[in-house]
């Protein structure tokens, strides 16, 4: 049962435009969501997160939006830069004493010059 889903395996965006990466989840008990970025031959690195009590969190070019009623979150990158080309993973946690993250399968973002 895949509790966190990233339905787009890949996404291609023109440099300078907005990249929108989507993530859906099924477990209403998730209360914290994270986005990680992964370059080839490296481990994933934390990018941005959002608590379920918020609907938006912004950090520079990166904004994460959370729609709890739809169980959907999205990561917006604007403007997109060539260095943003990577695989982006969405992850969720139930908080409390549970420290585990449930991961999506990832979306490969390609920024075209």
């Amino acid at each position: 049962d895949q509790q966190v889903k990233q339905n787009s395996p890949s996404l291609s965006v023109q440099e300078g435009r907005i990249s929108i990466l989507n993530c859906d989840y099924t477990n209403s008990m998730f209360d914290y969501f994270l986005w990680y970025k992964k370059y080839p031959a490296e481990g994933p690195t934390f990018l941005i997160s959002i608590s379920s009590i918020k609907d938006k969190n912004e950090d520079g070019r990166f904004t994460v939006f959370l729609n709890k009623s739809a169980k959907h979150l999205s990561l917006h990158i604007v403007p997109s830069q060539p260095g943003d080309s990577a695989v982006y993973f969405c992850a969720a946690s139930r908080g409390g004493s549970n420290y585990q993250l449930i991961w999506g399968a990832g979306t490969k973002l390609i920024i075209k010059p």
Partner: protein, 117 residues
């Protein structure tokens, strides 16, 4: 150390051999996780250590897989009698292991790429 360190970075082995993968977490992090990423797939949870508690082994795919964490720090993932389907990148992560939000952030090593011939 400054980050999570994994060794070796690459390991090529023959089918049927045993392998040991090592993870050195960030100092002070009480939680340690092992994941596996097969080609084109997402992160597959394997095992999780938190302080002195019994590890959560629910993700281990078979009894050929085991892991230890000595002294609450370094961890070793052992795969016995390796099979070709074990070929993957094995990632280790650590976190503060405290409840709530940003304290759940996991910091990853670069991984060990295992190839079973």
């Amino acid at each position: 150390g400054a980050g999570v360190s994994q060794s070796p970075s690459n390991k090529v082995t023959e089918k049927g051999k045993d392998v040991e993968l090592r993870c050195d977490p960030i100092s002070g992090h009480t939680a340690l996780y092992w994941y596996r990423q097969s080609l084109g797939q997402g992160l597959e949870f394997l095992i999780y250590f938190q302080g002195n508690s019994a590890p959560d082994k629910s993700g281990l795919p078979s009894d050929r897989f085991s892991a230890e964490r000595t002294g609450g720090s370094v961890s070793t993932l052992t795969i016995q009698r390796t099979q070709q389907e074990d070929s993957a990148v094995y990632l280790c992560a650590s976190s503060l292991g405290l409840a709530g939000g940003l304290k759940n952030i996991q910091y990853f090593g670069a991984g060990t790429r295992l190839s079973v011939l």
